[in-house]
């Protein structure tokens, strides 16, 4: 299949180099997708960024054991549904090191997504901006439809409910 010796060698070498670079790139990328610091005013910014697009904001925390169990299921759903616009928000009451948030998302297969992390110890204020009635329990999932209406799923989300919601967004 190879027409001559020299070009195939070159291609083999290039492929090896490419593979190496891709590995470095992948690692670099995983590290690079650091969560954006979620501070006062960030909720409005996040909403504006996704305005008019049905969006799922999943609130989780490094200090929340059920959250860590749930995360890989969101990665599965993301693979299954190309129409899932998922944003992750680490809402630990005490801000966590961004590198650890990133490590956990990477381990759960969610490192390529838009991600934010609480970066202010005045968490009452951050929570109030998202939902005044939210007292901080995690996990929590916000389904935001095209016109900004929010459906809240407290606790570990029933992904069947999320799928049904996604289906409804399509027909509208």
């Amino acid at each position: 299949m190879m027409s001559s010796r020299t070009p195939s060698m070159t291609i083999a070498r290039l492929s090896a180099l490419l593979a190496l670079l891709l590995t470095v790139f992948a690692v670099g990328r995983a590290e690079a997708v650091e969560p954006q610091p979620f501070a006062r005013g960030s909720w409005a910014e996040l909403q504006a960024r996704h305005a008019g697009q049905p969006t799922v904001v999943h609130l989780w925390g490094l200090t929340c054991a059920p959250c860590l169990t749930e995360l890989p299921h969101w990665a599965d759903l993301q693979r299954e549904r190309s129409d899932l616009r998922l944003v992750l928000l680490a809402a630990d009451p005490v801000p966590q090191p961004p590198v650890r948030v990133e490590e956990m998302l990477s381990r759960s297969g969610l490192d390529k997504l838009e991600s934010w992390s609480f970066a202010d110890r005045f968490n009452e204020r951050l929570r109030y901006e998202i939902d005044p009635a939210w007292s901080g329990e995690l996990p929590r999932t916000l389904l935001i439809d095209r016109d900004g209406t929010v459906t809240t799923l407290p606790g570990v989300a029933d992904l069947g409910e999320v799928r049904a919601w996604l289906d409804r967004q399509r027909t509208h």
Partner: protein, 399 residues
């Protein structure tokens, strides 16, 4: 075909290299990954009216004292000789208690690992706070202890410690049984220097909420905690000891039916009045009952009365704290009004049957610790550490 393909491949590699360099640089110059830090201050009055304040700041514990009701403080004395990985959880705090002889005991917990397994320590001062003994673990078991709480039995001066302990979890799981939560563990101080044998009062309590302790009589602590009832319902219960070695039956404070497979990080508070009545305040987020609630019981045997709501749930009511001081019962909690955190106060002079209107006693526009109550010589005070104002001891005047 091939000659034209090669340069494009090379160009692609160059782009890749640049992308790598860019991401590496972004990473290098990103925000520093600061570790979370403990930020708590806990007060205790000594028998002579000295206010002792134990503080957890970043990775160390210190104690300072004030002889002018918190206006000025002494230089802090170190309890932790080395930096320690303090438990910075939102319901964890350093604790301090003064015994009737003026001795002090300080307790705190550290994280042993990245999975939030804790280790509880205590330290003693027998020289009026001039120095503290090197911290020692409260118990020999190394599985995990958190939310340790100490209280001095007023009748004997003996120190009682209770905490949430995970030692029974691995044992149960090894035999194939599930073990939700943690155990309520306790120990009594044995002399001035050590705690006696650890006992388990109860298994399967919620593992992530602070405990409350009050005394029902000599050698009879009462502990309030968030329990795990069947179906992962995380409601509150009280256990009152019949004697120092015999925890009594579990008494449910209220049936909120908050079913949640998660950690609320939000524990209760208890006070027992001189007439023997029990008073508990707690947080719940059940579908039918959300926010902060208070309930009372005439004594240690009868059921608790109907819960009374303290606040509207959309003001983030949090961290209730109760104190019995003579004939007065004080109750404080924290709310957020959209801009500021405020501490609200209610007072009862008839054993919790009737309460005063809610009064705001302090506020802050940034992060804050839990509001706590402390009393000496017939006067009660709010003790509150806030990021902006620092530490404040605020008299609760019955205006």
């Amino acid at each position: 075909m091939r000659p034209s393909k090669m340069p494009s491949l090379l160009a692609f590699l160059v782009v890749l290299l640049m992308a790598c360099a860019a991401t590496a640089q972004h990473h290098q110059h990103g925000k520093p990954g600061a570790a979370p830090e403990a930020f708590t201050a806990t007060p205790a009055f000594g028998p002579d009216g000295t206010l002792w304040l134990a503080r957890a700041t970043a990775d160390r514990i210190t104690v300072e004292k004030s002889t002018d009701l918190g206006k000025t403080f002494s230089e802090p004395v170190s309890v932790t000789p080395e930096p320690m990985n303090l438990d910075w959880g939102p319901d964890a705090r350093v604790r301090i208690a003064a015994d009737p002889k003026g001795g002090l005991i300080v307790t705190f917990a550290i994280f042993q690992d990245k999975n939030f397994n804790g280790r509880a320590f205590f330290s003693r001062s027998l020289d009026k706070g001039a120095s503290f003994t090197p911290p020692r673990p409260i118990t020999a078991d190394t599985t995990s202890q958190r939310f340790e709480t100490v209280a001095v039995d007023p009748s004997s001066g003996r120190v009682f410690a209770a905490w949430l302990d995970k030692r029974n979890g691995p044992k149960a799981r090894a035999t194939g049984k599930p073990y939700p939560g943690a155990a309520l563990a306790y120990a009594w101080e044995d002399g001035d220097g050590a705690f006696g044998k650890t006992e388990i009062a109860l298994d399967n309590t919620c593992e992530c909420c602070r405990l409350g302790v009050a005394f029902a009589g000599p050698g009879r602590p009462a502990v309030v905690f968030r329990n795990i009832f069947p179906g992962s319902v995380r409601d509150h219960a009280v256990v009152t000891f019949k004697d120092p070695a015999t925890p009594g039956p579990l008494r449910r404070v209220s049936t909120d039916d908050w079913k949640i497979e998660a950690c609320p990080h939000h524990g209760p508070s208890i006070a027992i009045a001189p007439d023997g009545s029990y008073h508990v305040a707690w947080f719940t987020d059940a579908p039918s009952r959300k926010g902060l609630f208070y309930a009372r019981a005439d004594n240690g045997d009868v059921p608790f009365g109907a819960p009374r709501a303290l606040s509207s749930p959309n003001r983030q009511p949090a961290r209730p704290y109760l104190l019995s001081d003579g004939q007065a019962l004080h109750l404080v909690w924290k709310e957020f009004d959209g801009n500021k955190s405020v501490v609200h106060w209610q007072l009862s002079r008839d054993s919790g049957r009737h309460w005063s209107d809610t009064r705001t006693v302090a506020e802050t526009a940034d992060a804050s610790d839990h509001p706590l109550l402390v009393a000496h010589d017939g006067h009660a005070y709010l003790s509150w550490l806030t990021k902006n104002e620092g530490y404040r001891l605020i008299p609760l005047e019955d205006r």
